[in-house]
Amino acid sequence: MTNLFPNIDWMDLLLATGETLYMTLVALVGTLILGTILGLLIYLSAPGNLWENKIIYSITAGFVNIFRAIPFIILIFLILPLTVFLFGTFRGPTAALPALILGSAPFYGRLVEIALREVDHGVIEAAKAMGAKTSTIIFKVLLKESMPALVSGLTVTAIALIGYTAVAGSIGAGGLGDYAYFYGFTRRDMDIVYVCTLLIVIIVFVFQFIGDIITKQIDKR
């Protein structure tokens, strides 16, 4: 093992993997919450829907479009002042979270909106005819009926997030990207780069696998 990867400090690698998982999972929870809210707001305020409202629609759709247009590496620099204000530093996995969430929530928000649009309008009409409140329609009809699409959308977002954590690593966020860049690439210790790549690929596969199983479980169509 040591002969094959002469430059790897296995404790450092373990720590870097832990940081990548930490950033991905915490940012995923933040993305889930913020993205669902954004997706719901866009869907509900769209013309012809439950909360039809031009102002809310323009603001949320505009927010989503702008943040999706900004390349992630630039987004990190753009919100540096916010990160420093919140955490006192821009280094470390926790400091990377605002950028990760702001980068992926608009993306997930779009996926949520698309998933909600796929819910049969007739089912919403049936719920209305039964005298359902809007909150009941949101939680028991819209979100419940679109659950498989929401979960597979979250899987796609999680995988994009893993990629973002590696990008964030290049400015010192920690994690496998950071380890591969500073310890591997800059020192020309390519074995570190290869091992980090392999680990990232494995993490991506695990996320995809779990996502597919859950989607299959809840899809009763």
Partner: protein, 341 residues
């Protein structure tokens, strides 16, 4: 009793104005099955949605058992809607819920307790004949079974009215019949008022007591189903009646009859609201010394008896034949002598 008064719905697009429902007035008796028939675009779908305000009326009122639906606040309307069941052409079930969870949904909305929901759901499953399918998901059911879930769901909160929006249009003829039978069954068992819209005349013929014919947002003809069937006035109504009865020129023409049947009397018997029509033929044959040969007939059963006509050839001694005709005339069947030798 449901009273609809001068109800209108106008859809406005940028330059266009479409009167989907135009100054429509109707009254529907408690406990009856009331059918609205029309071609697509006649406004019937909009009309039924105006009753529970899935569409907001532009003007006019809807009153259900003395309560003005059109005047209700959003909050009160939500509660009122729990008393108005509705079923749909495409069933509109929640696919993420099982049969029993789908039926429980309106009860959850009404805030019914868990224990009560369980007993009520089981009652409804038995009522619509889905026993054993409780844990199935809609995707595992046939169209007819899905509509049964829809009906059970619509009945969950013990509504006073059931609105049926093309409820059988997506089903095959056999399944349609079984769903129609179920609707008649619950109408009789629960005394429920049913309003249904359809473009299929046989649905009206089979289960409705009264019918309104819609064209271009207006009711052009209405009344008792038998009355409308036997004396359709408007061209659109005549067309609908032809759907079930066939075109008049498809019936035997008198010329053709006379050409082929030279023997005896040819009679046309017209049945309106006759419930014992089969017995008449056998009674005549038993009590009078005549032979009866059925040439052609077209008789349909409606909720209030049979309607249609029957051509028969009657042979025998003249006095016997005349007596037989006298007898038939004494019942509610009309007799017309087409030819005699």
């Amino acid at each position: 009793m449901i009273v609809i008064d001068q109800l209108s719905k106008i859809f406005k697009t940028n330059e266009h104005e479409l009167k989907a429902v135009d100054d429509l007035s109707l009254s529907i008796e408690k406990g009856e099955i009331f059918g609205v028939i029309g071609y697509s675009g006649a406004g019937k779908s909009t009309f039924i949605r105006l009753i529970n305000r899935l569409e907001e009326p532009t003007s006019g009122t809807v009153e259900i058992e003395g309560q003005n639906i059109t005047g209700l606040s959003k909050q009160d309307l939500r509660v009122k809607r729990q008393e108005i069941g509705m079923i749909f052409q495409h069933f509109n079930l929640l696919w993420s819920r099982t049969v029993e969870e789908n039926i429980a949904f309106p009860l959850e909305i009404a805030g019914t307790s868990k224990a009560e929901i369980n007993t009520r759901v089981q009652e409804l499953i038995d009522l619509v004949g889905l026993t054993g399918k409780e844990k199935n998901y809609p995707s595992q059911l046939s169209g007819g079974q899905k509509q049964r879930v829809g009906i059970a769901r619509a009945l969950a909160n013990k509504p006073k009215v059931l609105l049926c929006d093309e409820a059988t249009s997506a089903l095959d003829p056999e399944t349609t019949d079984s769903i129609l039978a179920l609707l008649v069954d619950i109408n009789e068992k629960l005394g429920l008022t049913i309003i249904l819209i359809t473009h299929e005349m046989h649905v009206i013929q089979k289960i409705c007591h009264n019918v309104a014919v819609m064209e271009a947002g207006r009711v052009v003809e209405q009344g008792n189903v038998l009355e409308v069937f036997s004396h359709p006035k408007k061209p659109v109504t005549k067309k609908f009646v032809e759907q079930v009865m066939g075109k008049p020129d498809e019936e035997l023409t008198d010329d053709l009859l006379i050409k082929h049947i030279s023997d005896g009397h040819v009679l046309k018997l017209t049945f309106v609201k006759e419930t014992a029509n089969q017995a008449i033929i056998s009674e005549v044959a038993k009590h009078y010394d005549v032979d009866i040969n059925i040439i052609q007939g077209n008789i349909k059963q409606t909720q209030e008896g049979a309607y249609g006509s029957l051509y028969v050839q009657m042979t025998g001694d003249l006095p016997a034949v005349e007596q037989a005709i006298q007898f038939i005339r004494s019942t509610s069947v009309d007799v017309e002598v087409i030819s005699h030798d």
